[in-house]
Amino acid sequence: MFSFVVRRLAVAIPTLLVLVIISFILMYSAPGGPFNSERPLPPEVLANIQAKYGLDQPFWRQIVNYVWGVVSSFDFGPSFQYKDRSVNDIIAQGFPVTLTYGFWSFVVAVSVGVSLGVAAAIRQNSWLDYLAVGISVGAQVLPNFVMAPILVLTFTLWLGWLPGGGWNGGQWQNLVMPVIALSTSYMASIARITRSSMLEVLNTNFIRTAKAKGLPMRRVIWRHAMKPTILPVLSYLGPAFVGMITGSVVIDVFFSTGGIGQFFVNSAFNRDYSVIMGITILVGALTILFNLVVDILYAWIDPKIRY
C-alpha cells in the first residue's frame, strides 16, 4: 500500500510541475505586460516597478523564483491589479466560499445520486425506476449554466422564496440554489452509473448465494452488493470533482457568491496574470490531490487491485 501511494505521488508531482510550467510560459509569452497602460509610464518608473516584481530578470530565473516561492512558502506573489493585495489574500477570501458550497454540492450529488440509483435498481421497471432514469436523462442536458437561470426564474422571480444571489455569510437560503445548480448533472450521472452497476451486481452468483441462504434483502444489499456497486461510482468521482470545480466559476459569476471563480473571471478580464495563475495552480493541485485520494480509496476497497 505504501509503495502504491509513493508511486502515485511520483506521478502527481511532475503533473503539477507541468501545470505550473505551462501556465508560466503562457503568461510569460503574453503580448504586453501588466503595467502597459494607455498612458505610458516614464521608462525609469517602469524599470523600478518591473524590478520590484522581478520582471527584469531572465526567464529561467523568474520561473525558478516563482516555483520556489510556491513550493517553499506557498506564496503566489502579488496581484498585478490590486496593488495592496497578494494572490494569497484573494484566495484566502474566496476559497472558503467555494469550498462551502462545493462540499455541499458534492455531498448532495453523491448521496442523492447513489440512493436514487440503488432504489431504481432494486425496483427495476417500477415507477421509481422510470422516474430515476427520466431524471438522469433529463439532467444530462441541464448543465450548471442552464440550471442556474432556470432556478432563479422559478424560486426568485416567480415564487419569491429564495434570494437571487449573494453570499450573506453562507446562510442556507443563499446556499440552496448554488448547490442545486452545481450538483444536478453530476447527481444524474452518479444515479445512472449506480443503477447500471447495481443491476450488474444483482445478477452475479454471490448475490444469488446470499439470497439462497435466506438473508433479508436489506442485508444482501448492504453487506454484499454495495461494495462492488460503488467501485464505478468511485472512479467517476475524479472527473466529477473537476467538473464541479470548473462549474463553480459559473456559480460564482451568476449568483455573485464571491468564491474564487468570481476572482478568476474578473482577473481574466483585467489581465491580472498572477491571480489567474495562482488560482489555476491551486485548482490543479486540488484536483491531483483528490484523484490521489480516490485512487487510494479504490485500491483499498477493491481487493483485485494489485499495488
Partner: protein, 308 residues
C-alpha cells in the same frame, strides 16, 4: 460433441438466407438503429435544427446586425415576439432581431461542436491507435502523457490562454481541440489492443506492410464503429463546453454569438420580464443536446458490440 440436429438445420437455413440476400454488418446496424424510435425522432430533430441554422436567415425579416433604436428602452412591450412586427422571437436588449441572432447562435454552436468532435476523432484515434499498436514502452509513455493531461482542470488553462492570446473563435477551437481528444485516445487504444492480435494484422505484418500503413489501412477502419458512436456523444459535450465559456463572456465575441452567449444575455435580462430572450436560445440548446444524446445512444446500441 456433435452439434444437434436442430443446429445443423439452422445452419442450413442460414446458408439459404445468405444465398437470397447478403447483409453486411453495417446494414445490420442500420436496421437496429432505425428500430430505435427515440433515436430516429432525434435524427429528424437534428435535421430540422441544422436546416434552421443553415436556412433560417432567409426567413428572418431583419439582418442579425440591424439595431432597431426605436425599441431601446421599450423592449418589454414593443420587442415581444410577434408575427406582425416580423420579430418572430422578439428582440434582444440591444434591439436586434432575436430570430436572426438565434439562427446565427445555433449555427456557431453546431459548428463548434462538430469541429471539436472532428479534431477529437482525428487526433485521438491516430494517437490511441499508434500507442496501442506499438505497445510496450511507447504505449506506456504515450498513455502516461494522456493521464497527466487528463488530471489538469483544462477549463482554467483554456481561460488563461483566451486571456493571453485574445478571445477568438480560433483560440476556442484550439483549446477545445487540446482537451477533447484525450478520451478518444483511450478508447481507440483499448480497441486497438484487441484488434492488433487478429489474423489480418498478422498477415499484413508478415507481408511486410509498414506499421504506419497497417495503422491507417487495417486498424483505423476497424475502429470506425466505436469512433462514430463517441464522436456523436462528443458533439453535445463540445457544445456544452463552448456555451460554458461563452456564458462567462470569454468565448465567442460580438457581433458573433452562440447559444451560450445568448443564454447569458437572456439570463441577465430575465429579471425585467423579457422571458423570451432566454426562452428561445434555451429551447434550441436543450433540444440540440437532447437530440445528439439520443442519436448517440441509438448508434451505440446499433454499433457497439459490447452492450448487446
Amino acid at each position: 460433441m456433435f452439434p444437434n440436429k436442430a443446429a445443423i438445420e439452422g445452419i442450413g437455413d442460414a446458408a439459404h438466407l445468405a444465398e437470397v440476400k447478403g447483409r453486411s454488418l453495417w446494414a445490420d446496424a442500420r436496421t437496429r438503429f432505425f428500430r430505435n424510435k427515440a433515436a430516429v425522432v432525434s435524427l429528424v430533430m437534428l435535421g430540422l435544427i441544422a436546416s434552421f441554422a443553415l436556412f433560417g436567415q432567409f426567413f428572418a425579416q431583419y439582418d442579425k446586425g440591424f439595431v432597431d433604436f426605436s425599441l431601446i428602452g421599450s423592449n418589454a412591450y414593443k420587442g415581444v415576439p410577434s408575427i406582425e412586427t416580423g420579430h418572430y422571437f422578439g428582440t434582444d436588449s440591444n434591439g436586434r432581431d432575436l430570430f436572426a441572432r438565434t439562427v446565427q447562435g445555433t449555427g456557431i454552436s453546431l459548428m463548434v461542436g462538430i469541429v471539436g468532435a472532428l479534431v477529437a476523432v482525428i487526433v485521438g484515434t491516430l494517437y490511441g491507435a499508434t500507442a496501442g499498436y506499438y505497445g510496450g514502452r511507447i504505449d506506456g509513455l504515450m498513455m502516461r502523457i494522456v493521464d497527466v493531461l487528463m488530471s489538469i482542470p483544462f477549463m482554467f488553462v483554456l481561460i488563461l490562454m483566451l486571456v493571453i492570446f485574445g478571445r477568438s473563435i480560433f483560440m476556442l477551437f484550439l483549446g477545445i481541440g487540446l482537451i477533447s481528444w484525450l478520451d478518444m485516445a483511450r478508447i481507440a487504444r483499448g480497441q486497438t489492443l484487441t484488434i492488433k492480435n487478429k489474423e489480418f494484422v498478422e498477415v499484413a505484418v508478415a507481408t511486410g506492410v509498414r506499421p504506419s500503413k497497417i495503422i491507417l489501412r487495417h486498424i483505423v477502419p476497424n475502429l470506425l464503429g466505436i469512433v462514430i458512436v463517441y464522436a456523436t456523444l462528443l458533439v453535445p459535450s463540445m457544445i456544452i463546453f463552448e456555451s460554458f465559456i461563452s456564458f462567462l463572456g470569454l468565448g465567442v465575441q460580438e457581433p458573433n454569438t452562440s447559444l451560450g452567449a445568448l443564454i447569458n444575455e437572456g439570463a441577465r435580462t430575465m429579471q425585467f420580464g423579457y422571458y423570451w430572450q432566454i426562452a428561445y436560445p434555451l429551447f434550441f440548446f436543450v433540444i440540440t443536446i437532447f437530440a445528439f444524446f439520443f442519436v448517440g445512444d441509438g448508434l451505440r446500441d446499433a454499433l457497439d458490440p459490447k452492450d448487446r
